[in-house]
């Protein structure tokens, strides 16, 4: 009716809910019920039991009754002034319990807001011998065809069945629906897509190292450059798909230049920190750039002296960190999936936080252990692994990267960036002090670093800086990532909920 104006047609609204044939038939009964005398409302209550038990409000019952054709005139036959007061009586007379499993019927597999799965003979699969319950059951079976009144979850005997058990296992979202596994994995992406991707950085770095070992001269430089680009590309791919993907709400603001700078800021800190790890173990090193170039073009065979400017075991460290992208992705995936399950299972914010904290610590510990294993393996394979402070530094840096990415993936990019920046700044300060100490008269500037290096060996500064940053980030993550709102799934807006 294009021209009929904004008519509000309850019948049409109701058509969305389901066929109201049952309601129409049932609402024809009041005259009969009123004639029976005694308690006319009881029959109505019986007929609309599911509706009344599901209702959260007398007004909801009133709306549903009106959609079923109950008018004020019919309400008058129940000795009520209007539908509202009739609905109020129905609401008040419907038994309700404040049990937990009643609030979430589908989690317990009953599919019925008002009845639990245990203790009620109607919901057990055993047939009930009592004749008194027969009419009730047939009545409900008739009503079963009416989706507006009752969710069609239970079988004909009301047993929870395998579907109910599945619903019990599956976590639920806020809307009471069980969350399918693919929905949980939706934000994290499909493992089939991102899992192979996470192996690419390790492969790129490994191939590059092999190529560097096999080539000399300019070819070696070309291999190194190509390998760096390939590894960076693979890493970028890993960070765009899967569980390490940054949350959408981390959007930079400001003009284009500022945005571009802020986009490259965090990778820059990461590169600096990586460089610091690879260079710091070298005793008495100069500024790093010349060393790196020399490392790429050096030909140790010709000079006889192994001119190896990088720290002991740098290739093994680099390879281990590249390979660790895969365990990082899996640990992050594990954490987010488990946290979301915990979200479904816990009742209060404090419960969730208490459950999520060990989960986070466990994920971080698992990652560190896996990284250590990878480092040991690469050290064995390449024959020159990092030891002592270098090994600890490698682990600290890897954990720092993991935590920073985990926070970014959950929408706390700024926190992660600040931690990385702080670590970077501390290390740059140490390097600057070391360089400044060469100026005559300023030798004392380097004293703390030298003392530390004397005490713990070379690489102690890296360990200290990265370890402190990782610890700080872990403390922060324990507060931020154990918030329930961090793990809320971005459901599409429920249009029917009025939003």
């Amino acid at each position: 009716m294009p021209d009929s104006g904004p008519h509000h047609d309850p019948a049409r609204e109701e058509a969305a809910d389901g066929p109201p044939a049952e309601g129409l038939r049932s609402a024809a009964a009041p005259v009969l019920a009123a004639r029976q005398g005694g308690d006319p409302v009881k029959a109505l209550l019986h007929r609309h039991r599911a509706l009344c038990e599901r209702a959260v409000d007398p007004l909801e019952i009133a709306a549903a009754l009106e959609a079923h054709g109950v008018t004020d005139r019919i309400a008058a036959s129940f000795r009520h002034r209007d539908v509202f007061s009739l609905a109020e009586e129905l609401y008040a007379r419907t038994p309700r319990s404040d049990d937990e499993h009643l609030a979430h019927p589908r989690a317990t597999g009953t599919g019925h807001p008002g009845r639990g799965s245990d203790g009620d003979p109607h919901t057990s699969s055993r047939p009930v011998p009592g004749t008194g319950t027969r009419p009730l059951r047939s009545d409900r079976a008739r009503e079963g065809a009416q989706p507006a009144d009752r969710p069609p979850v239970r079988g004909p005997h009301g047993s929870a069945g395998p579907r109910g058990a599945a619903a019990e296992r599956a976590p639920e979202d806020g809307t009471g629906r069980p969350v399918p596994a693919e929905e949980i994995a939706r934000r994290a992406g499909r493992p089939l897509v991102w899992a192979p991707l996470t192996l690419l950085p390790g492969a790129a770095v490994g191939l590059t190292l092999a190529g560097l070992a096999a080539t000399t001269g300019p070819a070696r430089f070309a291999v190194g450059a190509a390998g760096t680009v390939a590894a960076a590309g693979a890493l970028a791919g890993c960070l765009r798909h899967g569980p390490l993907r940054a949350a959408r709400r981390t959007r930079a603001a400001g003009p284009a230049l500022v945005r571009a700078l802020s986009a490259v800021r965090t990778p820059l800190w990461c590169i600096v920190l990586l460089g610091c790890l690879l260079l710091d173990a070298v005793p008495d090193h100069d500024l790093g750039l010349t060393w790196s170039l020399a490392a790429l073009t050096a030909e140790p065979d010709r000079t006889g002296v192994p001119l190896h400017p990088l720290s002991v075991g740098a290739p093994a460290t680099l390879l281990a960190l590249a390979l660790a992208v895969a365990p990082a992705a899996w640990c992050a995936h594990l954490f987010s999936v488990r946290a979301r399950r915990g979200l479904a299972a816990s009742r209060r914010l404090a419960d969730f936080a208490a459950g999520a904290r060990p989960l986070l610590l466990g994920a971080v510990a698992l990652f560190t252990v896996l990284l250590a294993a990878l480092t040991a393996t690469t050290g064995t394979v390449l024959g020159d692994g990092p030891r002592g402070a270098a090994l600890i530094g490698c682990l600290a840096l890897g954990t720092l990267f993991f935590l920073a990415r985990l926070l970014t993936a959950h929408g706390f990019a700024r926190t992660a960036g600040s931690a990385l920046f702080a670590a970077c700044a501390a290390w740059t300060l140490a390097l600057a002090a070391e360089q400044a100490a060469r100026v005559p008269g300023l030798g004392r500037l380097d004293a703390p670093r030298r003392a530390l290096a004397d005490l713990c060996g070379p690489g102690a500064v890296t360990v200290l800086v990265c370890g402190a940053a990782a610890l700080a980030l872990l403390v922060r993550a324990c507060a931020l990532l154990t918030r329930a709102s961090t793990h809320a799934v971005d459901w599409p807006a429920p249009a029917h909920a009025g939003g």
Binding site: S4, A11, R12, V56, E100, G254, S485, D490
Partner: protein, 596 residues
């Protein structure tokens, strides 16, 4: 007058509730200027495009409620410790208002708490912008949990778990988005003389704030009571009980506050009026404005004086169970026994995915069972069309019941269907505003209808009304009219006169025009800023004398709006997330007139 038209999920989008009515309003009352503030509800709606811009619409600002939450540019920077604390406090108040028990259970001030929290948030968000997303969701969840566990929380929300709180806070974030945009500047809603919210609920939220910030009066039009439709739509939705309780509580509180603040609340019929009163609307401010139909389409039939086939009953509508066609068929069987020449034409809308044809098939079966024909049993003549195909009297045997589709060969439009019958029957058991009945009245046909919905209000004394679900009564009324042509004609003429008086587009528009003027006359005079000097003294000749003339004096020409094809309306802004897309129709009007 500058009128801020507030919509949600309707106008200016082509798809949506009351979009056509709004379009008619802004075209019919073109002497006013409209600024449309629309909340978009679904992406599908945005994809479906907008209605062509009306000349009276100065600007259209939209905001999407369905996009996921995200931090806008520069947001959160201005949230220091004090603002954060204020934000958390206001949210806690809002949550306490939502979760608190109603006045009927001793929680008398929950509504006030809700309003305090809402306005506190509005003030804060207006001054400092949207808070950072992390604060937003976490604070909301904490506030909700605390409020649901506080003593005096309402019954349904006490069992709410974490996932309910998360889902509701996510929904709340969307619902409170209208607090944020820059609609509340002196050049936007601040400049409006009147806010006209065309539905309750979130659409009225900007109106509430405009009233609070600028004292703009709010006119609320609810053809469908928002809270009632909320209950009906969430009844079948797979939401958990505490979440539904929270949503219902929020809508209830919001409706109460909107009803309290609105200067005038209009509705289409007494049923809506009862709901509004139930939700706390002051009866003094309630006005009934019946929806209007375009009467010109029916003028030819209504004025013709032809009373149609004297033995034909007509039913027009959608074949739904709520229309009780089976009851109608039973009633007609009784009529047919008494009056064998009687015919029943059932003219139904084409079946849609929402209304599948199986009910129609069921009705056809019932008809075949009720009127078995001895001459042409279907068993022997399988090619016989049976009930429902083709108009009666075209070669086929005179089967007393025909099923025809609107737009089919036998019933090209509804007007013709009404014109062909002597009596129009309405047999519904559930009905809102019976538009089909009004159409029949405009055609000057006598009607027999069941007493449901707004039928009695519409028919008045110009038709027969019987109780619903009573085929005998329906049959008796139909027979009485079939046997009395004079009465039929009398009732038909009276019906047409009544419909022309009450249910035309013109009366609808003039009623709203009258309301606009009434509200303006009551609104306090707002002294223009350019009319006063810095020290507050009025400046002489700040406004030319023509400014006080009634009518338009700015020289707008009376030109027809540029014809815009329906599919080529202004493109839907892809970035309508928070964006306001001011759209000046004068540009398109200029192009159109340049072509002409």
């Amino acid at each position: 007058m500058r009128i801020g038209l507030l919509t949600e999920g309707g106008y200016p989008y082509a798809k949506g509730e009351s979009a056509l009515w709004c379009d008619r309003l802004v075209r019919g009352l073109a002497q006013h200027e409209y600024d449309v503030y629309a909340l978009g509800r679904t992406p599908r709606q945005e994809r479906a495009g907008r209605l062509p811009a009306a000349p009276a619409v100065r600007s259209v600002r939209t905001m999407a409620l369905w996009t996921p939450a995200e931090d806008g540019p520069g947001n959160g920077r201005s949230y220091g410790r004090r603002e954060r604390r204020r934000y958390v406090g206001c949210l806690a108040e809002l949550a306490a208002g939502v979760c608190g028990d109603g006045p009927e259970h001793g929680g008398a001030d929950a509504g006030n708490t809700f309003a305090t929290g809402l306005y506190g948030l509005a003030d804060l968000l207006r001054a400092h912008g949207a808070p950072p997303a992390a604060l937003r969701s976490e604070a909301a969840v904490r506030a909700l949990e605390a409020a649901c566990r506080a003593p005096g929380a309402r019954r349904g929300v006490r069992q709410a778990t974490l996932r309910d709180h998360l889902a509701f806070s996510d929904w709340l974030e969307r619902a409170l988005r209208p607090l944020v945009p820059d609609w509340y500047g002196p050049d936007a809603l601040g400049a409006a003389d009147l806010c006209h919210a065309v539905s309750g609920g979130l659409a009225a939220l900007p109106g509430l704030l405009a009233k609070r910030f600028f004292g703009v009066p709010l006119l609320l039009t609810e053809y469908g009571v928002h809270i009632r439709s909320h209950y009906l739509t969430t009844a079948g939705a797979p939401l958990s009980a505490p979440l539904r309780a929270l949503l219902a509580a929020f809508h209830g509180r919001l409706a109460t506050e909107v009803y309290r603040q609105a200067a005038v609340i209009t509705h289409g019929n007494a049923h809506a009026r009862r709901w509004q009163q139930r939700c706390g609307a002051d009866p003094v401010r309630l006005r009934t404005i019946h929806p209007g139909l375009d009467a010109h389409r029916f003028a030819a039939v209504g004025e013709a004086g032809d009373t149609g086939d004297p033995y034909t009953l007509v039913w027009v509508g959608r074949a739904e169970p709520a229309k009780d066609l089976v009851g109608l068929l039973h009633a007609f069987a009784a009529v047919h026994r008494e009056e064998p020449r009687a015919r029943l034409r059932i003219v139904h809308a084409p079946p849609s995915p929402r209304e599948p044809a199986d009910y129609l098939a069921h009705c056809r079966t019932t008809a075949t069972r009720l009127f078995p024909t001895r001459l042409f049993p279907t068993r022997l003549f399988p090619t016989w069309p049976g009930p429902g195909t083709g108009p009666m009297g075209q070669g086929a045997p005179a089967f007393p019941v025909t099923f025809e589709e609107v737009g089919g060969p036998s019933a090209p439009d509804r007007t013709g269907a009404y014109a062909d019958g002597a009596v129009t029957v309405l047999s519904s058991v559930v009905e809102g505003f019976p538009a089909g009945l009004v159409e029949a009245m405009l055609c000057g046909r006598a009607t027999v209808s069941t007493d449901v919905g707004a039928v009695v209000e519409v028919v008045g004394g110009t038709g027969l009304v019987v109780p619903p679900r009573n085929p005998q009564a329906l049959a008796a009324a139909c027979l009485a009219l079939l046997r009395d042509p004079a009465r039929r004609a009398r009732l038909g003429a009276a019906a047409r006169a009544r419909a022309l008086e009450l249910f035309t587009v013109e009366q609808n528009l003039s009623a709203f025009h009258g309301l606009y003027l009434e509200l303006m006359s009551r609104a306090p005079v707002r002294r223009d800023r350019d009319g006063t000097a810095a020290d507050g003294t009025p400046l002489p000749f700040a406004h030319p004398a023509e400014a006080y003339l009634p009518g338009r004096w700015t020289g707008r020409l009376d030109r027809a709006p540029a014809p815009v094809p329906a599919g080529l309306g202004p493109p839907v802004g892809a970035g309508a997330t928070s964006g306001t897309r001011p759209h000046r129709d004068t540009d398109s009007g200029g192009i159109g007139s340049g072509d002409a």
